[in-house]
């Protein structure tokens, strides 16, 4: 992390644009593909102005075919490019699942490093913006259970740009999840030019001795709010922003849990098969005897993400998190 550079005040989505811009400027092998990312600048404007700046060859509107353009991007990556593909919403990544699962993630292993896929797949995810169904999925676990993929998810503008640059420079495929609910909900100081946030490293947002609260992406503000509420009640939370979902920052998590002995995990995804289970397993493996209470999960349910009329019931709220924190404190 550099210091004393110029900064700009950016929203999370603007920081993503800035990260893409930085890398497009740096190497002609960086190339963007996706639906409506050109003139339209993406449905969330994440690529706004980039086609105009870098040309139709570098910022490419693809046909409406996720498997096709992810597959083509694999071919480009194998042939020396660094494609960054946009999936318009995470819920529309499934048609490309085979390409990601059987090729993007495995090609290095299959060929013992002869062919590699340095590709970034960007996807807005999550509920809370009153979007139509399928637009709100938060199915990161389908990609953490996919050897060969890294999965990152920034919660703020600074991390978004730094992780984007790190992802593009990574020699392996990275799924880059963008919390659409946080795209414009706050602004941060973001350094100009190039810097990276290391993939695989989370971040401690608050210090606390009582409970470790683990979250990422759009759940960070929820966690912070709950921590604030609990602070009033005398409970000190250590809020961890995981930032990378695969590989999880083991040291950060374990150190904190060994200190607090109590854990609350927060995610939008369904409980069963969610990353919460992986975190509980990690604690089981590495901090079993430190636990003062069973870890609590506050998650989406084992139900599809509902239509937006119901999403406030589905999404974890500061109140539900606070209740979980109280529960682990009282155990």
């Amino acid at each position: 992390m550099k210091t004393a550079v110029q900064t700009k005040t950016l929203t999370l989505v603007q920081a993503i644009t800035d990260g893409l811009d930085t890398m497009l400027g740096e190497s002609k092998h960086v190339i963007l593909l996706g639906e409506d990312i050109g003139k339209n600048g993406g449905v969330f404007r994440a690529t706004d102005g980039l086609q105009e700046k870098y040309g139709e060859d570098r910022v490419i509107d693809t046909p409406l075919s996720e498997a096709g353009f992810v597959g083509a991007a694999i071919g480009m990556a194998v042939n020396g490019f660094r494609p960054v593909v946009e999936i318009q919403f995470l819920g529309f990544i499934y048609p490309a699942y085979e390409q990601i699962m059987t090729h993007a993630s495995r090609l290095r292993m299959r060929t013992m490093g002869h062919f590699t896929v340095p590709m970034v797949i960007r996807a807005p995810y999550g509920a809370g913006v009153r979007a139509p169904e399928i637009h709100c999925d938060s199915t990161e676990s389908l990609f953490t259970h996919m050897p060969g993929m890294k999965v990152v998810c920034p919660s703020n503008a600074y991390d978004a740009k730094g992780l984007m640059i790190a992802a593009i420079e990574d020699p392996d495929p990275v799924l880059f999840l963008e919390p659409m609910r946080s795209y414009r909900s706050s602004r941060d100081e973001v350094p100009e030019g190039k810097y990276t946030v290391e993939i695989g490293k989370g971040k401690k947002l608050t210090e606390g001795d009582d409970v470790t609260v683990i979250a990422w992406g759009a759940m960070i503000p929820v966690a912070m709010k709950a921590a604030e509420v609990m602070k009033q009640k005398g409970v000190d939370c250590e809020v961890l922003d995981l930032r990378t979902l695969y590989p999880i920052d083991k040291d950060l998590v374990i150190e904190s849990v060994q200190k607090t002995g109590r854990t609350v995990i927060l995610h939008e995804a369904h409980a069963t098969g969610g990353t919460g289970s992986d975190l509980i397993s990690l604690i089981n493996d590495e901090a079993f005897l430190y636990q003062k209470a069973p870890a609590e999960r506050v998650t989406g349910y084992d139900t599809p993400v509902p239509y937006f009329g119901f999403e406030d019931h589905y999404l974890p709220t500061p109140k539900r998190v606070a209740a979980a924190i109280e529960k682990v404190m009282k155990f």
């Binding site: 639906e35 409506d36 600048g41 449905v43 529309f92 048609p95 979007a131 009329g309």
Partner: protein
């Protein structure tokens, strides 16, 4: 290949019949029926856009400009047929008999919006592009298997033709001679992507050649052309002759959805021109004027009637009971698993504690 797939018209923009063989089809009665259905759905569409602007419903996908395609197809269906609409085909669904209240509830984020009236085989609007294309192949196949004469219609856009599901669905339907009409509203844009970047082929109809099924290209703003070719395709389907691909040339005047801004990627004055030059309602007005039967009072009356009908539905939608969180849990499985029961119990307890 454009010349192999000429655009079929019954009536031109000036209200003149250009396909003499269908002259008798264009009766005053039918013109008025088609016209008033188009007015009904246009009224719904405009109302919905304004409801969205007022924050009374969520993101909305308008279809204004595409009314002829939706009305012409829906009126060609039999009651027992299946309809597989997209998010932009609630005009067709409405004409086919969907509940207006439920259509509005859909746009207000309520599952109730996907429930058609009893006996109406209207699938929920396809959100993931092209996924409904294999569904229609299968549902139609089931009708054939059962020995009925029912058919299915499946709507999709020009962009949808790029998805693998388009190909796999049409291939399946062609191999098994599923009685299904694949109706593509080619409004020439998939959000911002124009058809020239979507495909290398000049027409969508020619894609039928890959499956050796009939491919037809029509003026999708000519409600009679739509009606005629849909009926023919349905007829073939019912007779065991398998699927047809219809490409209906049309245009959406507005943005892709209320969350989109069309002027970002196209000159909206083109839409203004299209309104004058190819509007499906204007065309029937011209015909009525040519025939000397255009009746301003009647036009006003049907407009008012439509407005009243839709206002009533808006009222129903808005007085609908608030979202019951139990709905989230109760319809995942016929019988909830213990996981879901537990989550429901805990959440309702939590809400109880809240209150």
């Amino acid at each position: 290949m454009e010349k192999d797939f000429p655009i079929f018209q019954v009536m031109d923009q000036n209200g003149n019949i250009v396909s003499a063989e269908y002259k008798d089809l264009v009766t005053e009665e039918r013109v008025k029926q088609f016209y008033s259905e188009m007015v009904r759905i246009r009224t719904l569409d405009r109302k919905s856009v304004s409801l969205q602007r007022q924050g009374r419903i969520g993101t909305y996908a308008p279809f204004e400009g595409q009314e002829a395609s939706q009305v012409g197809t829906a009126l060609a269906l039999e009651n027992e047929d299946w309809m597989f609409p997209t998010y932009r085909d609630h005009g067709a669904a409405m004409v086919f008999g969907h509940s207006l209240r439920n259509i509005l509830l859909f746009w207000n984020g309520r599952n109730e919006g996907c429930v058609p009236p009893e006996g109406k085989k209207i699938f929920p609007p396809a959100i993931p592009i092209a996924t409904q294309i294999p569904h229609a192949a299968g549902a139609a196949f089931a009708e054939k298997q059962r020995g009925t004469k029912n058919a299915a219609i499946c709507y999709f856009g020009d962009g949808a033709t790029s998805e693998g599901d388009f190909h796999e669905g049409l291939n399946f339907a062609s191999v098994f001679h599923s009685p299904v009409v694949y109706f593509c509203q080619n409004n020439q844009y998939a959000i911002s992507v124009p058809i020239s970047k979507q495909m290398n082929s000049a027409t969508i109809a020619q894609k039928a050649l890959a499956y050796d099924i009939p491919g037809v290209r029509i003026d999708g703003n000519d409600v009679f052309a739509v009606f005629v070719e849909t009926e023919k395709a349905l007829e073939r389907a019912r007779n065991g002759e398998g699927p047809t691909l219809i490409e209906a040339m049309t245009w959406r005047y507005g943005s892709h959805t209320t969350a989109d801004d069309a002027s970002k990627y196209r000159d909206q004055s083109e839409s203004a021109m299209k309104r004058m030059e190819t509007d499906p309602l204007l065309r029937l007005e011209h015909w009525m004027k040519n025939e000397g039967i255009y009746d301003e009072a009647w036009v006003k009356e049907i407009a008012e009637h439509a407005a009243a009908e839709i206002d009533a539905a808006v009222q129903e939608m808005e007085s609908f009971p608030p979202a019951d969180p139990a709905v989230i849990f109760d319809y995942v499985f016929e019988k909830p698993t213990w996981t879901i029961e537990k989550q429901k119990r805990e959440y309702l307890e939590f809400l109880g504690g809240e209150a």
